[in-house]
């Protein structure tokens, strides 16, 4: 029997955006179900409620296909955090974030947090190839450790010998570097008219993940949830000031009010 989600009123909204096939659904699935399984390209958007301590966080996993482009701004309305996802092996997927997805976030909250996430790191980063679910990150990879901090080195040396990477033979040329993502973050802040000084630093919101191995996935979501806490608390306060606002009213109204901060 499903527990009634009626009781759960979402406190805050997080949206996953990014081109098709970058792994948005896989990331969310890894986080919520602790598994990596076959996905089907998402249609429209899928809504999830995640219990985070005493809070309910709603997460929208959106479709990256152009076909569903116009719905993006609706999913983003009132978002407290947007996860802009790209595929580290696919430069175009990073470019798409700026060209196609950034404008969709115009409907998000003014204090919305933007995270830039390079997924499929297992294909480029030997550290990301180890499953994080079973053991902690293994220690015996000192030679690769360096490459992780300086990803360009890796592309110069596509098959480092005697690393787990060479075992799988899957290390590809990295097409998007961490620096590229950081640079994009800077441009996003500028687009939003935000001061770099007063905003979250890039190190805090630029991630490289692997839905396949679980690498950095929990870190990504949990960091973000922590970051949106103030937003949650503020909203809870607002609601306490008007205790008569019940879920139904809130939900029904949200579709009417153009810039509702609700849900």
């Amino acid at each position: 029997m499903p527990e009634l989600s009626k009781m759960k009123k979402p406190d805050v909204k997080v949206v996953l955006l990014g081109d098709m096939n970058v792994g948005k659904t896989s990331l969310l699935h890894r986080y919520t179900e602790r598994k990596f399984k076959d996905t089907i390209s998402t249609v429209g958007g899928a809504f999830f409620l995640k219990q985070w301590g005493p809070y309910n966080i709603s997460i929208w996993d959106t479709a990256g296909r152009e076909q569903f482009h116009g719905l993006g701004s609706m999913y983003c309305r009132g978002a407290a955090a947007v996860i802009l996802t790209y595929d580290v092996t696919n430069w175009q997927s990073l470019a798409e974030l700026e060209e196609r997805f950034l404008s969709l976030t115009d409907t998000a909250n003014h204090d919305c947090i933007y995270a830039i996430v390079g997924n499929k790191a297992d294909l480029t980063d030997p550290n990301a190839q180890l499953s994080q679910d079973s053991d902690g990150v293994s220690q015996d990879q000192t030679e690769c450790e360096e490459e992780r901090t300086e990803p360009q080195v890796l592309s110069a040396c596509p098959t480092p010998p005697a690393s787990p990477a060479s075992l799988s033979g899957m290390v590809l040329h990295k097409q998007v570097t961490h620096e590229d993502a950081v640079a994009l973050y800077g441009r996003i802040l500028r687009y939003k008219g935000l001061e770099e000084k007063s905003s979250l630093p890039a190190e805090k919101v630029c991630f490289e993940t692997s839905a396949k191995t679980g690498y950095n996935v929990d870190t990504l979501f949990e960091t973000l949830f922590d970051l949106v806490l103030p937003s949650i608390l503020r909203k809870r306060n607002e609601n306490q000031e008007s205790p008569t606002v019940d879920l139904e009213e809130c939900r029904g109204a949200s579709s009417k009010r153009a810039k509702s901060t609700c849900c």
Binding site: S41, R65, Q67, L71
Partner: protein, 614 residues
């Protein structure tokens, strides 16, 4: 025998309805194109038995045609080999236009001869193809003698994608049914097997064929060879092609292509597609359909394995009428403005459907639209814990605008009971999601989920008629429902039809019977067909369409008695087997006829936003 047949086969050719005499120049070009096509698709002629026929004609009714022939008693027998066919009319002459390649056995000698001798009767004209060329190329592959006995045995309806397939391999060629979609400009859009890129040369040849016929103001409709039927369907700027060795009728194959077209429309809308190609003739539609291949793959697998598509009717899960009514009432109470359909599905079958009064007043929900919805749900529910919100067009309801579909499973993690709510308001997600909470709550209160879990399809043994193995019954007379929702009922397929191969074989037999019943040239009311391992009887009246399958030794008289019993049983169980009175609600203060109106809701078809990206 093969030799004779071969001679006959040479005489087959192009059938053109309105340009009878200009045979040679077109035939040359056409033959060249056909040869090329043959080269691409079937390069290894095994036997040079190339009866190839091209049919062009004015578009006919693509759907199930009305049956017009008089009902007659069983009075003639037509025996060929071990297969005995008994039809309402003696299989005399003037059967020529009947281009069914599904003729049971020995199609070769007899039928080919009939085709040739008589094809100038009626509206068709046979034109000789440049036969020498065709012989060289050998479109036909292996000379099978009895398609009905063999078809389907190698079928594997497993849901899988074949994108990576090597299109030069034999296995690729041997797929039972290929489906291709291309743009009018010849750009590949979809291929069921293998990637479109790898197939671009094949598609190019098909395009050459199509444009050749378009240039002479005709629409090419189909090409027959001994082993394959190639059917073309042009819809707006899209060209759909089916290459099938399934021995289905052209009409059936065209119906299947139409489903593929509608599924594409359901994702993009007809208006958007026209607009895209108006702006840019050689637009690559794969840009917009990327990611949707699995939906089309899934549809084609369903079309092959689920008779709902053949019958153009909906199969609902049998349910005590009291339970169905209570579920309907739950749906009826959980409403919000602009909600137009509330649909409850279990095990991929309909439980109940409730609809908005005004939207649907003057019309009914077409089974095809429901099939497309069910397929979409099946293909998009990999991640079942979430609540999905997606635009969807119901092409038969209105091909030009979107509804917004809310899809959610009510019984995670099993995910067998699915709620589908359709709204006309793009922004209504939270309001519609709230309807789901209400529905969920009410279902918990009434313990509906565990009652639904007990519901299941029925066994044919419940009918209590020995020798009856399976049936499909599509009524036209269930009070108040046919007009709104065309349905059929059918028991589980049980032994000897439990394996996938045997299921497919039975379905092929049904498809054959169906093609005879619905033949445009010579529709039949009643067919008694003795096949090798079973006996089938198909019967259509003004009140129903019925297909039955008996053990092989049943006599005609026995079968008739059995059917009488079956009909009585169905009548008795009617309330449980069908959705009797689809209930309604009212959610639109000012009726949103817009969704129907077409023009009035232009904005709806464009504001999905992708057009701005072109």
């Amino acid at each position: 025998m093969e030799r004779d047949n071969h001679q006959e086969g040479e005489a087959q050719g192009v059938k053109i309805c309105d340009s009878p005499s200009e045979s040679n120049p077109p035939a040359d070009t056409l033959a060249t194109s056909l040869s090329l096509l043959g080269n691409h698709m079937f390069p290894d002629p095994v036997e040079r038995n190339d009866g190839t026929t091209v049919v062009k004609e004015e578009p006919a009714d693509l759907h199930l045609s009305d049956v017009t022939a008089q009902e007659q008693s069983l009075d003639a027998e037509h025996v060929s080999n071990q297969v005995k066919k008994l039809e309402t009319e003696a299989a005399e002459n003037s059967e020529c236009q009947n281009n069914e390649s599904t003729e049971t056995t020995e199609r070769g000698t007899e039928d080919a001869a009939i085709d040739n001798d008589q094809s100038d009767s009626g509206e068709f004209v046979v034109t000789m193809l440049a036969k020498a060329k065709l012989e060289e190329q050998g479109i036909g592959v292996k000379g099978r003698s009895s398609p009905l006995l063999e078809a389907g045995t190698q079928e594997s309806p497993a849901f899988m994608s074949h994108r990576d397939e090597d299109v030069t391999a034999d296995s690729w060629r041997q797929h039972r049914k290929h489906v291709f979609v291309l743009s009018e400009a010849g750009k590949p859009i979809y291929s069921r097997y293998g990637s479109e890129e790898a197939l671009s040369s094949t598609m190019g040849v098909m395009m050459a064929l199509v444009s050749f016929v378009q240039s002479s103001d005709n629409i090419i409709r189909s090409v027959y060879s001994e082993e394959h039927t190639v059917v073309f369907l042009q819809k707006g700027p899209l060209v759909l092609v089916c290459v099938s060795s399934s021995r289905q009728s052209e009409q059936q194959l065209r119906g299947e292509l139409l489903y593929v077209y509608y599924q594409i429309i359901s994702m993009l809308t007809q208006a958007s597609i026209s607009r895209i190609f108006e702006h840019k003739k050689n637009y690559d539609l794969r840009r917009l359909l990327a990611g949707s291949e699995k939906i089309l793959d899934g549809l084609l697998n369903l079309v092959d394995s689920d008779p709902s598509f053949l019958l153009a009717a909906i199969h609902c899960l049998p349910l005590a009428s009291s339970l169905r009514d209570s579920l309907s009432q739950i749906l009826q109470k959980a409403i919000t403005p602009n909600l137009v359909f509330s649909i409850l599905i279990a095990k991929n079958q309909l439980l109940t459907i409730v609809q908005e009064k005004t939207v649907i007043e003057d019309t009914r929900l077409e089974p095809a639209d429901v099939h497309l919805l069910l397929n979409l749900i099946g293909a998009s529910s990999a991640f079942q814990a979430g609540e999905i919100w997606t635009p969807i067009c119901l092409p038969l309801f209105n091909p030009d605008c979107y509804f917004y579909a809310y899809i959610s499973y009510l019984d995670p993690p099993e995910c067998t009971v699915c709620l589908l709510l359709l709204s006309t308001d793009k922004e209504a997600f939270y309001a519609v999601a709230e309807c789901k909470r209400k529905i969920e709550e009410a279902m918990v209160a009434q313990n509906s989920l565990s009652l639904i879990a007990k519901a299941q399809s029925y066994s044919v043994s419940q009918v209590g008629v020995s020798d009856l193995r399976h049936f499909m019954y599509k009524p036209f007379d269930v009070p108040d429902n046919y007009r709104q929702l065309t349905q059929f009922t059918s028991p589980e397929m049980e032994a000897p039809y439990s394996s996938e191969g045997e299921k497919m074989r039975l379905l092929d037999l049904y498809r054959y019977m169906h093609s005879r019943i619905h033949s445009t040239s010579r529709p039949l009311k009643l067919i008694y067909h003795v096949a090798e391992r079973e006996t089938l009887l198909a019967w259509v009246t003004s009140k129903f369409e019925l297909y039955t399958c008996f053990s092989p030794l049943v006599t005609k008289a026995c079968a008739i008695t059995a059917i009488t019993k079956l009909l009585r049983w169905i009548k008795k169980e009617e309330d449980r087997l069908f959705i009797r009175y689809p209930p309604k609600y009212s959610t639109t203060p000012n009726p949103s006829k817009s969704s129907r109106g077409g023009k009035s809701d232009q904005q709806d078809s464009t504001d999905n936003g992708f057009l701005s990206l072109l």
